[in-house]
Symmetry: C2
Subunit: 233 residues, 2 copies
C-alpha cells in the first residue's frame, strides 16, 4: 500500500534519526521538502540525504520562514495535491521536518489538507530541547516539575504568565528575539541556571552557561535556551 509519511529527522546529527525514520526514508518513492529559501537544500535535507535511496524524486514545497496563515494553508494544499496524485500512482511519499513533526512544524498544514484522503503515518523525532538537555548532561524536568515550551513568537504577556507558573522552560524560536528572552530570564530570576545551546545536534554544537551574555551575542538561527527556576531551599 502506498502511504504518506511525516518524518522527524531530529536536531541535526544523522545518528539521531530513529531506526524507523532511516528505514522509511530508504523505501519511499517521493520526498517532499520544505523550502524556506530559494536555491537552498535546507538543513533537514543534509541530515537525511545519506539514508535516501538512489534516484529518489525530490519535490520542494515553498514554506516561507515568515508568512501569513493563508500562505501556509496554501503551501499545505500544494503539498497535499502532490501527495494525493503520487499516492494514486501507487507511490509512497514523505515530508521531512527538523526535530519532531508535531512540535512547531508546518507538517500540520499538510495533514489538515489531506483530510483522510490518503493513509498517513507520522514518525516522531528527537526534539531540539531534549537534544540540548542531553548535550549539557542536565535534566529538563524531574519529579513533579512542570515543563513549559515557550515559543518566542508568543506575546510578552503570555510568556510572562507561563513563566510565573512553571518550573523549567525551553525557549524556542529565539533568533532575533534574544533581548526579550534575556529580559524574561532576568525578571523571573532564571539567568543563573540557564544555558544557551547553539547548533545542538551538529558537530559544532556549543553549550553556553553565561546565558545572558550569549543571548546578546547570538547570531545563530538554530539556537535555544533552557532554564529553570532556582530551587527555594
Amino acid at each position: 500500500m502506498s502511504k504518506f509519511y511525516g518524518i522527524g529527522v531530529g536536531p541535526g546529527d544523522p545518528e539521531l534519526l530513529t531506526i524507523k525514520a532511516a528505514r522509511v526514508l530508504g523505501s519511499i518513492d517521493v520526498l517532499l521538502i520544505p523550502q524556506t529559501q530559494k536555491d537552498k537544500k535546507g538543513v533537514a535535507y543534509t541530515i537525511m540525504e545519506q539514508f535516501l535511496r538512489k534516484n529518489i524524486e525530490v519535490v520542494y514545497i515553498d514554506f516561507p520562514m515568515v508568512a501569513d496563515e493563508e500562505t501556509f494553508v496554501d503551501a499545505g494544499k500544494q503539498a497535499a495535491n502532490i501527495i494525493i496524485s503520487q499516492t494514486k500512482l501507487g507511490k509512497s511519499s514523505a515530508f521531512v521536518t527538523l526535530g519532531d513533526p508535531s512540535v512547531y512544524s508546518t507538517y500540520g498544514y499538510i495533514v489538515k489538507a489531506l483530510e483522510g484522503k490518503v493513509e498517513i503515518e507520522t514518525i516522531p523525532g528527537i526534539t531540539s530541547f531534549c537534544a540540548a538537555a542531553a548535550l549539557a548532561n542536565r535534566p529538563l524536568v524531574e519529579k513533579d516539575e512542570i515543563l513549559t515550551i515557550v515559543p518566542m513568537n508568543a506575546s510578552d504577556e503570555r510568556i510572562d504568565a507561563a513563566l510565573k507558573v512553571g518550573d523549567a522552560f525551553a525557549f524556542m524560536k529565539i533568533y532575533k528575539r534574544e533581548e526579550r528572552v534575556a529580559n524574561h530570564l532576568m525578571k523571573h530570576y532564571m539567568e543563573e541556571d540557564g544555558i544557551l545551546v547553539q547548533r545542538c545536534g551538529f558537530k559544532e554544537a556549543i553549550v553556553h552557561t553565561d546565558v545572558i551574555e550569549s543571548l546578546h551575542e547570538n547570531t545563530d538561527y538554530l539556537t535555544l535556551v533552557l532554564s529553570r527556576k532556582e530551587e527555594v531551599v
Copy 2:
C-alpha cells in the same frame, strides 16, 4: 576511552531508538538497568535487548516506583559507584531509560552522583508525548502556542495554574490519578479535543478520542493524555 552513557530508548517500539542509541548499546561492556519490581526485567530492557552485544554484563539498580527523595539519591550513588569502578577497569557502561533521559528520569540522580568523576554522554530519546502525537497524526503545538508538560504528581493548585496559561498540554504520570485529570480537563473545557493514548510505541497501542470515558476505564500504567484548549473563533 571508557565512558558512561545515559541512553533514552524511546516509548516502546525498538525501531524508535535512534541509530546512535542502537550503536552505543552494541558497543558497551556493562548495562545498568533501573529495576522497579523484583524479578522483572522491565520495559526498557525488552525494548533494547536485541541491540546488546552477546555476554554483556547486566547490573540491576534498585529504583523503586514510589520512594522518598533519599532512596533515589542512594540508588543514584549505588549506580555511580558501579560506574566509577567499571570505568577504572577500562569498561564502558550505560544506563537506559524509557523515553528521554532528561524528562522525569531517575538518570538525573546518577549524573549528580557522578559529579564529573567519569566522562558522561547523554543520548536523547523519543518522548512519549511526541510519540503519542505522532500516533494520532496530530500536532502538539503550532505557531505561537505554548506547550506544557504536566506531571500528575504535582499539586492540583499548580496544575490548575499551569492549565490557565498554556495552549496545549501533555499529562504525564496519570496512572491512578485519572479522576484528577478528568476534573482538570472538564474545568478548563479541554475534554473535546483531548485524547488518551495507551501503550504508545507498542504494537497494542490505542488512541482513545473519548478522553473522559477512557480516563474512567484506564488500568494501564503506560498511558498519557494530550489536550488543547478549544480555539476561540
